[in-house]
């Protein structure tokens, strides 16, 4: 059984890497799209194996309560997005926005990105973690620029430059963590192994760790879209293909937050006194308020939901900053629910943009009359993402506000204000998008409903009846997070 488990760990990276190579050579796009769905399902199945038997951690890999959740989420959303992507690219080929030649490249990059994210999630080595994020970033940069329009190239360039600087700073932070550990743990790989560092956390140099965390928060925070390093995010979401917007928001932002959490755990168990929490609360608050205000001026539908992702990353950073069992549980739940909701919203928006032939909010009206199914799904998505009951995000935001209120009432008021601001903007836009007389000029689209309904179903279930075992699990992880 042990061998199966270690094999499954290797396969989380091997399956996407091998399939990326194969997909780069498959020129028949329909076959490639199906193959992409199939290997994504295989990766998901492989990750599910890890639930059954968990391998012991070694120098390279680590599977624990914290990352198994995100691995599973990664596999699941990666799979549903591949289904959505198959329908999406069929339409893009029909309209001539993409050519089959680019699709080979697209599918190869899709799997490379999955490999990078899985590596960042499952590795025990801080250097490999960095490398995984870097790989996923480069793959998404290429996909954002795939339409080759002026705006797409601009977005990809901006993303490449900002993400490179962010990643460089994250590496500097990693080097500082190594320097903090090296005097106590000795030179070599041991001082870059997360489990080893955690085990000896009390021996690490606290002053150095503190400075390191600042660089790590800025560096990986750039990838998570925290203000003021968020500038790449709206452009990349708006100009790239919609399946990529879905995985960027749904997965890559989460992976960046996850990496920050790993370092936060280290600091929580070392002799550093609570400074990372203040930093995270501050960044989260600024991010939330800024994004909530920016939501009001958006005229592009994908750009609007991109700012909503920034807003949610702010809430999540804030939640982990507040910490404590409730704060951490709220943060974890919010990450999961946001990931599922936002990717489903992007699936819907992708179909809407294809149906209407535009992403401009002003040109999309009355969706519930012209495309009832898409329209109502968008209504459900916006209601869920804005934090209304009975959806999962309501649960996590409610948990967060109540737990913050207990510690610091003023912070809770600011938090509530930010959430309400964002709520107003989203609901206001939703009414013009979905209701009223439909705007002219629309085509029928074959929407792939299953992924969207599946995601909303889980989010609804999470909001109505959060299973006790899931809460217990999150509470257990929350203890680790400190």
């Amino acid at each position: 059984m042990m061998n199966v488990a270690t094999g499954a760990v290797d396969a989380t990276i091997a399956i996407p890497v091998v399939s990326a190579t194969i997909l780069a050579m498959v020129s028949h796009w329909r076959l490639a799209a199906r193959l992409n769905v199939f290997v994504s399902l295989a990766t998901l199945a492989d990750i599910s194996l890890l639930l059954l038997s968990r391998p012991a951690s070694n120098g390279l890999f680590l599977v624990d309560d914290l990352n198994i959740v995100f691995l599973l989420l990664n596999g699941f959303v990666g799979f549903t997005t591949s289904i959505f992507s198959a329908g999406y690219i069929a339409y893009e080929l029909e309209t001539g926005n993409l050519t089959p030649r680019y699709l080979r490249f697209y599918h190869a990059m899709y799997q490379s990105m999955m490999a990078g994210m899985n590596l960042a999630l499952i590795t025990n080595n801080l250097g490999l973690m960095w490398f995984g994020i870097e790989l996923a970033t480069l793959a998404t940069v290429m996909m954002v620029g795939i339409y080759r329009t002026h705006a797409a190239v601009e977005a990809a360039w901006k993303y490449l430059i900002l993400a490179s600087v962010g990643i460089a700073l994250a590496l500097f932070g990693t080097i500082l963590v190594y320097l903090a550990a090296e005097p106590a743990l000795g030179a070599g790989m041991g001082a870059m192994q997360w489990t080893n560092l955690l085990h000896n956390a009390r021996l690490l140099d606290p002053a150095m760790l503190n400075v390191a965390f600042i660089f790590l928060l800025i560096g990986y925070g750039t990838k998570a879209g925290l203000v003021p390093m968020h500038a790449w995010l709206p452009d990349a979401h708006a100009e790239g293909p919609t399946p990529i917007s879905a995985v960027l928001s749904g997965l890559l932002l989460n992976v960046a937050i996850y990496v920050i959490l790993r370092f936060k755990v280290l600091l929580a168990h070392s002799s550093v006194i609570s400074e990372p929490n203040v930093l995270m609360i501050g960044t989260g608050m600024v991010t939330l308020l800024f994004a909530a205000i920016m939501l009001y001026r958006r005229r592009d539908i994908k750009r609007m939901f991109a700012y909503s992702s920034v807003e949610h990353m702010g809430i999540i950073a804030f939640a982990f900053g507040v910490g404590g069992t409730l704060g951490n549980v709220a943060g974890l739940l919010q990450m999961m629910m946001h990931s599922l909701t936002k990717s489903a919203i992007f699936f819907t928006v992708g179909h809407v943009a294809q149906a209407k032939g535009t992403q401009k909010i002003a040109d999309i009206r009355g969706l519930t009359s012209s495309h009832p199914l898409l329209g109502w799904m968008l209504v459900v998505g916006v209601v869920a993402i804005a934090g209304l009951p009975p959806f999962g995000i309501f649960t996590s935001e409610f948990l967060l506000i109540t737990s913050t209120f207990a510690h610091a009432p003023i912070l809770a008021v600011v938090l509530g204000l930010g959430i309400l601001l964002a709520f107003g903007a989203l609901i206001g836009r939703m009414t013009t998008l979905c209701f009223g007389t439909p705007s002219p000029g629309s085509h029928p689209v074959r929407a792939s409903k299953t992924p969207i309904l599946l995601h909303f179903g889980i989010v609804l279930f999470g909001g109505m009846a959060l299973p006790v075992f899931l809460y217990d699990w999150f509470a257990h992880v929350a203890l680790l997070l400190g």
């Binding site: 080595n125 490999l128 490449l160 320097l179 030179a187 070599g188 870059m192 002053a207 750009r303």
Partner: protein
């Protein structure tokens, strides 16, 4: 005379002073990059920057007896000090952008900000790394200064080629920090990864003929690109 010179370099303290001299030279070359007003001059300074890094890393490889660091040194000397600058010169010729470096922030102000950043990084790192080995401490402080100066270059200059130069000098600072951290694993892999990123950026500029950073003072043009203009 010769013996004392050799001793002062290869002796226990001499090893440190040469390592510090090379790291300090890197910061100095970063400053030189900030006040260049022609693109080809920026590229030449970048080549010098990478060459100094190559020497510094080779020296670290020697004093730490870490042979794999020589690979990183060779990457710096060959790829970053020769191939990339040649490619950048070609881009400048092809895109016909010999004209002056467009400064978003004036040169005097940039230099002043640069001095502030160096002071900041020395104060912060020398203070926090008080318990680390002497070699690592000063090295990290100077490396941070190089990184921050690279960021300053990226912010203060508008042209895509000067941004690449800024990013590469930033990355040189990182490699210096990684090489100076005694026994740090994966340094070679990291420097190879960064070389790939840089190749990406340079090829991107060449393929898409990106001349400038996209933000312009004229924000209506920007809004039009973004579809934010009604």
């Amino acid at each position: 005379m010769m013996v004392t010179l050799v001793n002062s370099i290869f002796g226990p303290n001499g090893a440190l002073s040469l390592a510090h001299a090379l790291s300090g030279a890197l910061v100095l070359v970063s400053f030189m990059m900030l006040y260049q007003d022609r693109l080809s001059a920026v590229i030449n300074v970048l080549a010098l920057h990478s060459a100094v890094l190559g020497l510094a890393v080779a020296w670290q490889a020697w004093i730490q007896a870490e042979p794999q660091l020589y690979i990183t040194a060779v990457i710096a000397l060959g790829f970053k000090a020769m191939i990339i600058p040649l490619a950048l010169h070609r881009i400048v010729r092809r895109l016909n952008i010999h004209r002056e470096v467009e400064a978003a922030v004036g040169i005097g102000l940039t230099m002043l900000a640069g001095m502030g950043l160096v002071a900041l990084s020395l104060v912060v790192m020398l203070h926090t790394a008080a318990h680390s080995a002497v070699l690592a401490r000063e090295d990290v402080a100077l490396a941070l200064a190089t990184i921050l100066l690279g960021m300053l270059m990226m912010i203060a200059r508008r042209n895509a080629v000067s941004q690449i130069a800024g990013f590469m000098s930033l990355e040189n600072g990182l490699i210096l920090a990684a090489a100076g951290a005694e026994g740090m694993p994966l340094v070679v892999e990291i420097s190879v990864t960064f070389s790939i990123v840089i190749a990406f950026i340079v090829i991107g500029v060449f393929l898409f003929r990106i001349r400038e950073r996209f933000d312009t003072i004229d924000s209506t043009a920007l809004d039009a690109f973004r579809g934010e203009l009604q």
